[in-house]
Symmetry: C2
């Protein structure tokens, strides 16, 4: 009955070599929800904001048919704020400040009606909160999970508990190496899948993404980008596009997961073309499908001469 | 009328975290020729060795039907020797010693009969020697060229002259950035193709390879390798497999170049599975084709649900 997205909602102040912005809409659940909104199913966002969260952001989310019944607004509280600066090499960024605000005491209570969502994306939040979310869901069909180095390093026990309950873990290459303590990504993938996830996706930024499952391995190319304006949210957009497509098709076979990885990659490529969430605001399913086909053309070859 | 390969022939002393070897057969033209030998056409190797070059190496090359009419043997001279040590991260290596020997005064004279070769691979040697080779060839159909950071940094003028005369330049990502002075690989590719090469292949090691042409861009996956024993010769094996397949098919369309990139990647993957040239010695066209199909399975997805 739809896709439940739980994660952070933030106001981001981001500086890249090309531009800067203050208090722009951000946060993992924002990027995930916007990306997933272009596929057919209903998207339910669960998160927390303060009373400083602008009405225009609410409207943007609602304009994308994102259901906000699970959005908690704390009167007198401040929305989570994050400031970051990217270097000329956009793979390197410094966090300038983190002001957790209402996110510090975020208690992800899932409204009764949303507990029957068939697809769940656990955005990058503390592992014990991810567990708390899963405990409330009634027989989820498919759970997709993100995490980060901070939790791998500091809350590994809690994270390992979550991993036993998810269908897909989506992380980047350095996180995969950190989690598995194994430099070779192929060996790392084996180790991580033994921790629980049925499928593992390793995002490699400008080098594409790898999907690992019992059925085999799939290598998705990266979109050849000449200009990346703001990498913020790329990973979340990937997760949103990936899960949105699965929800739309209702098909979680390995063959369909491959396509979902490419749709995820497509959404991530749109995301980084503009600042903040701008790259995700005015898309259409047709534009996304066109890019999906570009990925196909990029990596296809006939085996016959 | 066949494939002409010009490059170094060496005796390599290589140490990796897994094993070490002394005075093993090596050199760019050796790896290129062995890789190309599994395809149908005659392969002509042009290079120079000293009288210390072992008969067993000659036999190995001849067993692979590699024509050695262009092999110069300098009496009283010493074969080029190279020593290198790979770190635990196999992408990092130190050159322990370089003893040019007879290679220092290598004059690539192409025997009359070989000047009509339709396919030419210019292995990684000084750009002015590459030019000297091209000057001797009668209307080559297709010229494939390799180079390295040393020549990009120290003999750029000479290199740029060569680039105007080649169909395909094959380099790795760091060489592409160095040559173009552009960190973004897609922009780098545009710049390099403007220097002359009709096609550019950028090898990205464990991240696969990119082919750029007027017709578009092709992204080939990397073979998922759990164990790499010796990376020496991987790039040369790629060039040999790539060109060998083109020679076999006689087809230099973009669609066929894509397949050739995958055959090149297949040969490189065999190369690094064993020490020195061992991974290339006992292959068959069937084994290579099987691996080609594995690359296909790895990257294919249907666009229809």
């Amino acid at each position: 009955m739809g896709l439940l997205v739980v994660g952070s909602i933030a106001l981001d102040s981001v500086e890249t070599p090309f531009d800067k912005t203050d208090n722009a809409l951000g946060g993992s659940s924002t990027y995930i929800s916007l990306s997933a909104s272009y596929f057919s199913g209903p998207v339910y966002l669960v998160g927390v904001v303060g009373d400083d969260f602008q009405e225009e952001h609410i409207e943007l989310l609602e304009d994308h048919n994102i259901n906000l019944e699970g959005l908690q607004k704390i009167e007198g509280g401040r929305t989570f704020r994050w400031g970051g600066k990217y270097h000329y090499d956009l793979n390197v960024r410094d966090t300038l400040f983190t002001d957790l605000g209402v996110f510090e005491k975020f208690d992800p209570v899932i409204p009764e009606k949303l507990r029957k969502c068939s697809f769940v994306v656990l955005g990058n939040i503390q592992p014990d909160l991810q567990t708390k979310v899963l405990d409330q869901i009634v027989k989820p069909k498919f759970v997709v999970c993100d995490t980060m180095n901070l939790w791998i390093e500091n809350q590994k026990e809690d994270l390992l508990k979550v991993l036993k309950r998810v269908n897909v873990l989506i992380i980047n290459d350095s996180e995969a190496r950190l989690l598995s303590q194994e430099p070779n990504l192929i060996k790392a993938a084996h180790k991580i899948r033994e921790m629980g996830p049925q499928y593992l996706i390793i995002k490699k930024g400008e080098h594409g993404a790898l999907l690992f499952g019992e059925e085999g391995t799939f290598s998705a190319p990266a979109y050849p980008m000449e200009n990346i304006y703001d990498p913020t949210g790329a990973g979340d957009s990937f997760a949103g596009g990936f899960t949105g497509y699965l929800l739309k098709t209702g098909d979680v076979t390995f063959e369909n997961l491959k396509r979902a990885v490419v749709y995820g990659s497509a959404l991530a490529s749109f995301c980084v073309e503009k600042f903040s969430t701008k790259g995700l605001e005015d898309l259409s399913y047709f534009a996304i499908h066109d890019r999906f086909m570009e990925f196909h053309n990029l990596s296809m070859f006939d085996t016959d001469e």
